[in-house]
Symmetry: C2
């Protein structure tokens, strides 16, 4: 709610951004937050740069565009006429967010040129598999635009081993983009900082303040390890916007670096809360929500009619309902049961959870975002699911379901 | 300020969008506004679709992506490996916003493949010149992805002759994208509606509520004349977001249609004001600000030390300061004088105006956005410029200026 107050200042003053002179406060606030967050990530002061954009998907798109322009600069100007020496590809964690594949489609790299790197048994990118893919791309004369790792990936909240991945990228001179939209703020917590070890070695980092820093949406940060890359993504000018009589101001003209021209001032809330409470607030939020997720995991282990799909690394937990009756059904029916149960649950208004499909099995997925969520709420959630599962079982037993459930 | 109140609801409730179930109100409000605005533009109810995105640049990018996917579908999947039958090009008004050329760079069409269509003496796209370009593209076997017209273009606020352009596009089966980000709302005014005549014939229309509908930034609408095109821009799914047990909801899952995944609910303010005051408020705002710009133009005609660069079509006026002393200087010095004068003006905090370069001449540019702006304010602006110009002249007369003013 306090963050909402700062947000109201944004809306009422409507001091938008693109050019420094249009939004000097907005620009200053944004640059101050980039400086503070970048240091927390571990970048060296004075050497990195960043920007705020409307969401993690746009931030990923912008980071990958900067990488594309560096590795295949002729695509920007010539498009499909460009004579590329090699086919551009992007190596990504198999669990990377869908916006990465989409970015390849948008950027003319080609969604088919996304190469998915296999995961280990905890759904983290497997560095040995990554090395193998890098070597085979080199053998096949493919140009690797970037390696995209996750901290953490959204399906079960797995943090990729960033230091091992960064070693490989350095060795082969590859651009490393880390999508830390959800998990980046683990760096605030002494207890959980190890999960993001190596994050500062990435060439570009996506970090959403509106996810685990509890800010109103949207406030997505994109960092460049090397500040020289901040202008790589775009190469243009609009005469009436950018003033040649004050060229030094270009450093502050955010529009030169973002997909957007006019941009909302999206860092006031973060700046306000950061100024009032300091970073320890964010450390506490990490510790509490991660601990609550752990508690939920242990509750699931103890419950005979639920199973956790994984051991949580952060505040995301994926789990399934199970009973002898359900387990005897074909997988497709089990999945349909989970989908239908979740839809009933959210339509009832009692709880809001999402679904996920892990190893072809449909499951439920929760993300503990509210530090006030307790074991009592989590117990209520399980009891509600139990209760609705019983009712839904009867519907399954009676008329056979004819719905077709498409697997995606 | 009232709009700010509705915006505060957005921030405090933080009901974001991507998937219908996450933001049912936000989605409903957005769809209601799309329906209302689309009808004002002149689309036939039931046949068009739209979305709200974070700014006109993103809206242009999305519309052109939909056109690219329709004309060269293989680029999405195969990227530079795609064997295109013809080189893709985009025909644009020479005064189109810089985001269009940028979009060509981002989308892998190639910024060099932007073909600028010459303007008439009022800086409107010249349909005869457009036809010539279309024919020569056909002769050279170039694939026209889209024709981009403006309503209005930003430099002097010129409205392209949309009906004549639409005739040509229909005749040659071309995608017409109209960037009506600034001028779209002229359609609300009986007196000025003629400027946007033909807008409803465009395949995609960009329309910013945060510009001439006076909403807090950002609230940019993208319309598709044919609702079947709304899913053309993207072709993906994320299993945990989009629920196969309720496929009919995809129509409401905005994330399937935007570059962004999570999206701020950007239409509450517009919906609130529209519901309270109706569209006549917007018609009045058009009439008043356009009339004020006209008044300013007449003041400039009467002043011996100013000249308007054009006769205004809307609320944008571009003008120059002139005196015998200044006119005797080389053009580069005249331009530098204008740039320096403007910088002094905005740094003083007295007025905020922007600069523009029209036919290589630097000029001042104002956009009348506030209906409370009167002749008194405009007179103060001219007097302040006069006063500062006198002071700056002395600086010019004394030590010769060594600054280099780069022409862009």
């Amino acid at each position: 709610p306090l963050a909402g107050l700062f947000e109201a200042i944004v809306s009422v003053t409507n001091q938008v951004m693109a050019v420094y002179e249009m939004g000097p406060w907005a620009t200053s606030v944004e640059l101050a937050m980039i400086e503070s967050l970048g240091r927390e990530i571990g970048f060296t002061p004075g050497t990195f740069a960043g920007l705020v954009t409307h969401g993690g998907s746009l931030a990923n798109l912008t980071g990958l565009l900067a990488a594309r322009n560096l590795k295949c600069p002729e695509l920007w100007s010539q498009g499909p006429q460009a004579e590329l020496e090699a086919i551009p590809v992007i190596l990504v964690s198999s669990d990377a967010h869908y916006s990465v594949t989409r970015a390849a489609g948008i950027l003319g790299i080609g969604a088919d040129n996304i190469i998915k790197v296999p995961l280990d048994d905890r759904r983290r990118m497997n560095p040995a598999a990554l090395e193998e893919r890098i070597l085979s791309c080199q053998a096949e004369n493919k140009q690797i635009i970037a390696v995209v790792a996750c901290a953490c990936a959204t399906p079960i909240g797995a943090f990729d081993p960033l230091n091992e991945i960064a070693d490989l990228c350095e060795q082969h001179d590859l651009w490393l983009d880390v999508d830390a939209a959800h998990g980046g703020r683990a760096c605030f917590s002494t207890q959980h900082r190890h999960l993001t070890a190596g994050l500062h070695r990435a060439d570009s980092v996506v970090f959403d303040a509106h996810k685990m820093m509890f800010m109103p949406a949207l406030s997505a940060f994109l960092f460049y390890k090397d500040k020289a890359h901040q202008f790589s993504a775009f190469q243009q000018q609009a005469a009436y916007l950018f003033d040649p009589s004050a060229p030094e101001i270009a450093e502050y003209d955010i529009g030169l670096r973002t997909v957007e021209c006019t941009k909302r001032a999206n860092s006031y809330a973060l700046w306000g809360i950061w100024s009032l409470f300091g970073k320890s607030l964010f450390a506490d939020l990490v510790d509490i929500t991660f601990a609550t997720a752990r508690t939920f995991y242990e509750m699931l282990l103890q419950a005979s009619d639920f199973e956790p799909v994984h051991e949580p690394q952060c505040n995301i937990v994926v789990f399934r309902y199970q009973s002898d009756w359900l387990n005897a059904l074909p997988l497709e029916q089990q999945n349909l049961f989970h989908f239908k149960l979740r839809r009933q649950l959210i339509e009832s208004g009692e709880f809001y959870i999402v679904h996920s499909v892990i190893n072809e099995q449909a499951a439920f997925r929760i993300t503990v975002m509210n530090p006030l969520t307790t074991e009592v709420h989590l117990n209520q959630l399980l009891n509600t699911i139990r209760h609705r599962a019983g009712a839904l079982q009867q519907a399954f037993d009676e008329p056979p379901l004819v719905d077709h459930c498409e697997q995606t």
